[in-house]
Symmetry: C2
Subunit: 122 residues, 2 copies
Amino acid sequence: MAERISDGEHAVMDVLWDESPLTAAEVAERIDPARGWSDRTVKTMLARLLAKGVLAHEEDGRRYLYRPLVARADYAARESRRLIDRLFGGRAAPLVAHLAEQDQLTAEDIAEIEALLKALKP
Amino acid sequence: MAERISDGEHAVMDVLWDESPLTAAEVAERIDPARGWSDRTVKTMLARLLAKGVLAHEEDGRRYLYRPLVARADYAARESRRLIDRLFGGRAAPLVAHLAEQDQLTAEDIAEIEALLKALKP
DNA sequence: GCTTGACGATTACGTATGTAGTCAAATAAG
DNA sequence: CTTATTTGACTACATACGTAATCGTCAAGC
């Protein structure tokens, strides 16, 4: 269940997280054209994701319909944690501090985060 | 310059970010023993990191002294950005929101982040 | 001086990943 | 019915990565 999803595979998951179930052809249509993938490549990704157990497929006549078995939020949580563990000693605050220092936070971000935190307080 | 650093390579960089320059043997000594790496493995990592241009080495007699060419903060910034782009549509606020929702923020984290943001405001 | 050990350089090998191509079966077109 | 097309299954191949082993050389002991 803790299968890693590669960068390429993630592009496929993204499509299915937005809309599912989809056929292989439909997934291929929706993949960011910037990747320039052939539909074969998409098929390969789908097969690998199935093998990893993060997708399921049900038969629909001669084709399959694919749907994610892992929620986007769960995946995001796992990856965020990985990053925080690897780069920030497992603490989230240094990550935010870092984003702030690097000017990667817009004024809007800051306002949004402050509102969020306020809501979290008892 | 935008070379990716793999998970294993990162362990080596971590050592050199803490202390440098170091010889290959010194790096090997300082690698987290939990990895159970042979010194050969460490040498391989050093060679690959050199090839990627993220380390430099200077001769010291018959050995080399290795030092990082990429700052830890720069690397952290790049990886944070990658994560945010991939998982949160490029905006930092949703990442923080996500951490909050997942209860991945301690009260301490929250206080720390609030203080930080306050300092950022004009 | 000859041997042994420390180093860097080169090579190895299995799995993951990016990126497809081929083959066979089923179906749609004619 | 025969042929072209669609679809999944299997195969391919180069590069990256994890994890070393081997080779050659130079220096330090004896």
